[in-house]
Symmetry: C2
Subunit: 146 residues, 2 copies
């Protein structure tokens, strides 16, 4: 019937689908204390670096559109983590910046990467191979969807 490659391919997609949910589940635990979700944590990671970014820029970095970001950023604003303000140079654009409260979470978040590693112990070699594979896979996928 089907070639092995095709079958394997299916398994890999399912495994990525499953891994994503398991990783999110793990982050949920680690982030519980911060009272943020994983996507919100990703926004914070960016804002801890750059302090403020437009919705568009956040979307470009996270590959999310306004349909996802707008409500999420509103929730974060409601929780006092970020501020949203129309740009004065370009009124179409909305600038999101991290508040003091949002910045304060950075300290609490310091330990998260190491806790993560504790739960997914992998060799250095394996890690970088996986990283490269995912990178090229993502390139293929994102090339296509554009």
């Amino acid at each position: 019937m089907k070639s092995e490659t095709l079958k394997l391919e299916n398994q890999i997609c399912f495994k990525i689908y499953t891994a994503e949910r398991e990783i999110t589940k793990l982050y949920r635990e680690l982030l519980k204390e911060l009272n943020v979700t994983y996507p919100q944590y990703l926004v914070l990671l960016l804002l801890w670096e750059k302090h403020s970014l437009s919705v568009k820029e956040l979307g470009q970095r996270l590959f999310l559109d306004s349909g996802t970001l707008t409500p999420m950023l509103k929730r974060m604003e409601m929780n006092g983590l970020v501020e949203r303000k129309r740009s004065e140079q370009d009124e179409r654009s909305v600038i999101v910046s991290v508040t003091e409260k949002g910045n304060a979470l950075k300290e609490k978040a310091e330990c998260i990467p190491s806790q993560l590693v504790d739960n997914i112990p992998m060799g250095k070699e394996e890690l970088s191979t996986l990283n490269e594979t995912l990178t090229s896979m993502l390139e293929q996928l994102q090339n296509h969807s554009k």
Copy 2:
């Protein structure tokens, strides 16, 4: 632990998160003709093999709980793809079986794996390495979440 490794883990998690969405997006296109979503397609894959499974068994295979499955299966039932019926041996259990209409989609779906591979060209070697890595990663993750 070196900060290099910590950062890499974080990046890998983000890439898996992103890859999952890109893969789902690709499937969305491929499955548009069948009028099913990727998770629904996964259910069909199982039912094409086994004809009927309980909600519990579906959940065990897909790592999804009734909170996700029940509404999804109801949508599939509404679309005429599956049937849901209480088991007579055990009234707690609900048996989901594929209908003729659901089975008819199998033919249309045959071409999907190869179309998928066309969009993610990867070497056999790389593919099986990725598969192994994800498998062990999943084991770690699922062990932990118990």
